[in-house]
C-alpha cells in the first residue's frame, strides 16, 4: 500500500510527520484549554449563584 518514495522517502515522510505533529499539537492544546476554561467558568458561575 505504501507508495515507492525512492531516494526521497526520508524527506517526504519527515515533512508529513512534522506537519501532522504540529497540527495535532495545535488542535490538542486548543481543546485542552477550551475544556479547562469551560469547566472553570461553570464552577465559578455555580459558586456565585450559590453565594448570591
Amino acid at each position: 500500500m505504501m507508495p515507492d518514495l525512492g531516494k526521497y522517502a526520508d524527506t517526504v515522510l519527515s515533512a508529513y510527520a512534522a506537519s501532522i505533529l504540529l497540527l495535532a499539537a495545535l488542535v490538542a492544546l486548543s481543546l485542552w484549554r477550551g475544556r479547562r476554561l469551560r469547566r472553570d467558568m461553570q464552577d465559578m458561575e455555580q459558586r456565585m449563584r450559590r453565594d448570591g
Binding site: G6, K7, T11, A15, Y16
Partner: protein, 250 residues
C-alpha cells in the same frame, strides 16, 4: 431579507452569548468536514498521485506546504478584518477572534517554513537561503510572535485589543508583501505561485485536484480552530469579569 435586517442579524453575532450558541451548534459539523477534507486530500495526494519528473516524490510535500503557506498569509487578512471591526465598532468578540487566530496562523507559518526547508534540502541543496519569499515568511512568523506576545503583555484587554489591532494593520501589509515577494524581487530561489488565476502558472492537473481538497481542509480547520478558540477567549474574559466582581464584593 432586507439589507438593514441582514446587517442587524450579522452584527447580532457580536453578542458573546449568541456567538457561543451558534458556534456550539456549528462545531461538530465544522470539525467533521475539516477532518474529511484533510484526510481525503492528504491520502489522495500521498498515495494516489505520481512523482514529478523533476522533483520525484518530494512533490507530495506540496499538499502540506502550499495550503499552510496560504493560510499563514490569509490568517492576517481575517485578523485585519476582525481588528478593524474592533477599532471602528468596538465589538469585543471581533477582537477576541483576531486574538484566537494569531497562534493558528503562527503554526501554519511554521509548517510552511519547516516543509519548505525539508523540501529545499534535496532540491536546492540547502535547508535555508536568504531568498525574498523565505526571508519574508520568517519575518511574518516574527510578526505573529510579536502579535501573540503583545496580547499577553498588556493587562487591560481593551488596550491590548487596540494596540494589537494597530500591529495587525502593519502585519497584514507585510503578509501581502510576502505573498507577492516572488514577483517583486525576482532574484530568489523560490519558484512562482503554484496556484494562480493564470492557468499557465498552475501545477499540473494530476496534482491540482488533491491540492484543492487539501486547501479546503486547511481553510475549514482554520475556521473551526478560530471559532473554537474565540469561544475559549470569550470564556476567559467572562472568568476575569467574574473574578473582578468577586474581589469587588469581598
Amino acid at each position: 431579507m432586507t439589507q438593514p435586517a441582514m446587517n442587524s442579524s450579522l452584527w447580532s453575532y457580536a453578542n458573546p452569548r449568541k456567538f457561543l450558541a451558534t458556534t456550539e451548534r456549528l462545531m461538530p459539523f465544522l470539525w467533521t468536514v475539516a477532518l474529511i477534507c484533510l484526510v481525503t486530500g492528504l491520502v489522495w495526494g500521498f498515495f494516489f498521485t505520481p512523482d514529478d519528473y523533476r522533483q520525484g516524490s518530494t512533490v507530495k510535500i506540496i499538499y502540506l506546504h502550499v495550503p499552510s503557506a496560504l493560510m499563514a498569509i490569509n490568517a492576517w487578512m481575517m485578523m485585519l478584518v476582525a481588528s478593524l471591526i474592533w477599532l471602528v465598532r468596538r465589538h469585543h468578540v471581533s477582537a477576541l477572534a483576531a486574538r484566537a487566530a494569531g497562534p493558528v496562523g503562527a503554526v501554519m507559518t511554521v509548517i510552511a517554513l519547516v516543509t519548505g526547508a525539508i523540501w529545499g534540502q534535496p532540491m536546492w541543496g540547502t535547508w535555508w537561503a536568504w531568498d525574498p519569499r523565505l526571508t519574508s515568511f520568517l519575518i511574518l512568523f516574527l510578526f505573529y510572535l510579536g502579535y501573540i506576545a503583545l496580547w499577553e503583555a498588556i493587562e487591560d484587554p481593551d488596550t491590548a485589543a487596540d494596540l494589537t489591532g494597530v500591529l495587525c494593520l502593519v502585519g497584514s501589509v507585510f503578509a501581502l508583501l510576502s505573498r507577492y515577494a516572488v514577483n517583486f524581487w525576482n532574484q530568489g530561489l523560490h519558484q512562482g505561485a503554484s496556484l494562480s488565476m493564470d492557468a499557465e502558472e498552475n501545477v499540473a492537473d494530476v496534482f491540482y485536484l488533491p491540492l484543492l481538497v487539501c486547501i479546503a481542509g486547511f481553510v475549514l480547520l482554520f475556521i473551526a480552530l478560530v471559532f473554537y478558540r474565540t469561544g475559549t477567549e470569550i470564556r476567559a474574559r467572562r472568568i476575569r469579569a467574574l473574578q473582578a466582581r468577586e474581589r469587588a464584593g469581598a
